[in-house]
């Protein structure tokens, strides 16, 4: 095979057994890799109703065909499993260099199943695979665990590991790659924790075989030049990082503020990418083979929040910033560093702390619940303290580490949890930007922006432009973006490559790499197949069309101040058309004809 290695590695932690199997060429063609192929493996082998933290769940690490090649921003992989936060077919996409290394070691996917009786880690060096004792690693933060694993294996090993949050089974815990890159959302870290596996270390000496080297080189060079020439891909993201979005979303009136009680934060500029570049940025950093370099290596000098690390991204700056009523960038960046160290999802934890602040201000919880802390909006020190507590799972932090839905529900007020399908929504207010609300509501893993980023068209004027306040044509926009992103994620490329190239360029690279005569139509069809695969799992797991919704607040309470004042989300104007365009019935169930067309069952 070209592009794919042709081998899948399977590790059974219960039996301590390692085995290999061939990658099915037809499945590879139909699902590409990463999110698509990993999703197919999980859907074929795991009961959607199984306990996500039980031994019967499996966790798959899968790069895509482009991963590890010199295609632009092609260092991505997905961690696919039943997600502990909400039970969806979870796929967490991450950058860094772990994905390419797994490919160089010879694997299209690593399937981890069963449960170890004691803490272990996995050491993969090409064909040699060892399950090693991890007693000495347990309890360590992700940077310390990474260093310890490298000391025991190889200083060049690429390490993917969980922190204390994954160990205490927080459903908002991450898997961290090379310390700073997260496989986030849906709580995949807890699945590793439940299996007693602390880390996976990998070192490979192989290469990715290319079917048409000349054609691939030409397609890659063209794609690289297009990204380089794009104002965002070529220079904007490198200069300011994703946090540059704070101001444009705020000026649009769609920056969720104080747990989505408002859509405008007057001092947001203090937390934006411009301030970050001026105050904290040491240098931009790229993942494997990336010319965009949106990553931020940062330093905080202020005594209270001193530290060096990476971040924050826009979503993080918002979650610990405007959403908590906080404009202290040093505290926000510190909270980000702590999340990386403990292995926690910044969006979910920030939004959960914001939810707790609202519960506190409404008198639903008091200092008796919060370990004596005045958990009010804008209380910077309290926010950072709560991040620490959640990371350790101590005191009130243990409740926060459960995510905002379980937190608010435990006090009888789930309506203050700003979640879709129990996953915290990111940093775009659906009342100020209509299409993104449809994307959140229909999101296969719950509230999520990276699987149908309509913001690119509704706010950022990237390639085309649509009015954020209208609902017309947003269903079609959502479907196209969701399908395109599903295929792109599964190819191994980074979503941000689309700030420069599109489906046509990705198809061209894939065809030359794999030797499969992919067309743009087939690429989009693959995305649609993957989207429907995830939908089918979710229906089998017990989700219904009633879950395709937004928090009541967004449908009934208008934004109070700023440019989108007076607006609510008009989800109901878009959802029926969305189902229709998807070929689903009025209950959101894919029809027989659609499944046949997509060769799904």
């Amino acid at each position: 095979m070209f592009g794919w290695t042709g081998t899948i590695l399977r590790v059974d932690l219960t039996k301590g057994k390692v085995s290999r199997e061939a990658t099915d060429p037809q499945l590879a063609r139909d699902y590409l890799g990463a999110r698509g192929l990993g999703g197919h493996i999980v859907r074929s082998e795991v009961d959607p109703k199984t306990d996500a933290l039980g031994a019967d769940n499996k966790i798959v690490f899968a790069p895509g065909p482009l991963t590890g090649t010199f295609a632009p921003s092609a260092g991505r992989f997905d961690v696919v499993t039943k997600g502990p936060l909400n039970g969806v077919l979870a796929a967490s996409n991450s950058g860094g260099t772990f994905g390419p290394e797994l490919k160089y070691a010879g694997y299209d996917a690593l399937i981890i199943e069963g449960k170890s009786a004691k803490p272990v880690y996995l050491w993969i060096k090409d064909d040699e695979v060892e399950i090693r004792d991890a007693a000495a690693l347990w309890g360590h933060t992700t940077p310390d665990a990474t260093d310890l694993v490298r000391a025991e294996t190889d200083e060049d090993a690429k390490v993917s590991c969980i922190g204390p949050a994954g160990e205490h089974l927080s459903p908002i815990s991450n898997i961290m790659n090379e310390m700073h890159r997260a496989a986030g959302r849906t709580g995949v870290g807890a699945v590793m924790g439940s299996k007693n596996i602390k880390a996976v270390a990998v070192l490979g000496s192989g290469a990715v075989k290319v079917a048409d080297p000349e054609g691939f080189k030409a397609a890659v060079m063209k794609a690289r030049q297009m990204i380089q020439a794009h104002p965002v891909g070529g220079s904007g993201l490198k200069a300011y990082g994703t946090d540059v979005l704070v101001n444009i979303l705020n000026q649009t009136g769609a920056l969720p503020t104080r747990n989505f009680q408002d859509g405008y934060f007057p001092t947001a500029d203090k937390t934006g990418g411009e301030s970050l570049a001026a105050k904290q940025l040491i240098r931009p950093k790229g993942c494997f083979s990336c010319i965009i370099s949106c990553g931020r290596v940062t330093k905080v000098d202020s005594p209270d929040y001193k530290g060096i690390g990476e971040g924050p991204e826009y979503e993080t700056a918002w979650a610990f910033g405007a959403d908590c009523g906080i404009d202290d960038l040093d505290a926000i960046t510190k909270a980000n560093f702590l999340c990386n160290e403990y292995g926690m999802d910044t969006i979910s934890l920030g939004s959960t702390i914001a939810c707790a602040m609202e519960l506190f201000e409404r008198g639903i919880i008091t200092t008796k619940d919060t370990d004596g802390v005045q958990l009010t909006f804008g209380n910077t020190a309290a926010m950072v303290e709560m991040v620490e507590k959640a990371g350790r799972g101590e005191g009130f932090g243990a409740k926060l580490a459960q995510g905002s839905y379980r937190l608010a529900d435990s006090y009888g007020h789930p309506e203050y949890s700003m979640t879709c399908k129990k996953q915290e929504m990111p940093a775009y207010d659906p009342r100020g930007v209509q299409g993104i609300g449809l994307n959140y509501a229909t999101g296969n893993r719950g509230g999520c922006h990276v699987r149908g980023y309509t913001i690119a068209i509704e706010v950022l004027q990237n390639g085309a432009v649509m009015d954020p306040h209208v609902t017309d044509d947003k269903a079609g926009l959502g479907v196209t973006f969701q399908d395109l992103t599903a295929a792109l994620d599964s190819s191994g490329a980074c979503l941000f490559a689309t700030f420069g190239i599109g489906g046509a360029e990705l198809t061209e690279m894939l065809a030359a790499l794999t030797g499969v005569d992919y067309t743009l139509d087939e690429f989009m069809r693959i995305g649609e197949r993957i989207w429907n695969q995830e939908r089918l799992w979710n229906l089998e797991a017990g989700f219904t069309s009633a879950d395709d919704t937004l928090p009541r607040r967004l449908l009934t309470e208008p934004i109070k101040t700023g440019p989108s004042k007076g607006h609510i989300s008009h989800l109901d104007d878009m959802l029926p058309e969305y189902y229709q365009l998807r070929g689903w019935d009025e209950k959101g169930v894919p029809g027989k004809a659609k499944l046949k067309e997509l060769t799904l069952n």
């Binding site: 540059v244 979005l245 444009i248 000026q251 411009e274 991204e313 826009y314 979503e315 004027q461 700030f499």
Partner: protein, 90 residues
């Protein structure tokens, strides 16, 4: 009227915002007068010939001028204008 600048636009203007007492009648007049103040780099960022550049995002009270009347968008003294280069992330 207040005009706010963001990201690379700040490197052309050397300031983050400017209060303008005599509000110009429309967007074209405003940008022309700002280009005269800030010079070539600013002018190239906002105009493509005599049209609005496709790589600039201008909001009037939060609304992108492409959804209003573009360069012909009328302005009044109480307006807040925000000028962004193309930005992205997520």
């Amino acid at each position: 009227m207040i005009v706010k600048y963001f990201a690379t636009i700040r490197t052309y203007t050397g300031e983050t915002e400017r209060r303008i007492d005599d509000a110009p009648a429309g967007m074209r007049e405003l940008l022309t007068s700002l280009a005269a103040r800030y010079g070539t780099a600013f002018r190239r960022a906002v105009f493509s010939g005599d049209q609005l550049s496709g790589e600039i995002i201008i909001l009037v009270n939060g609304r992108n001028v492409v959804h209003l009347e573009g360069l012909d968008t009328p302005l009044k003294a109480s307006d807040e204008v925000s000028i962004f280069p193309m930005v992205a992330g997520g």
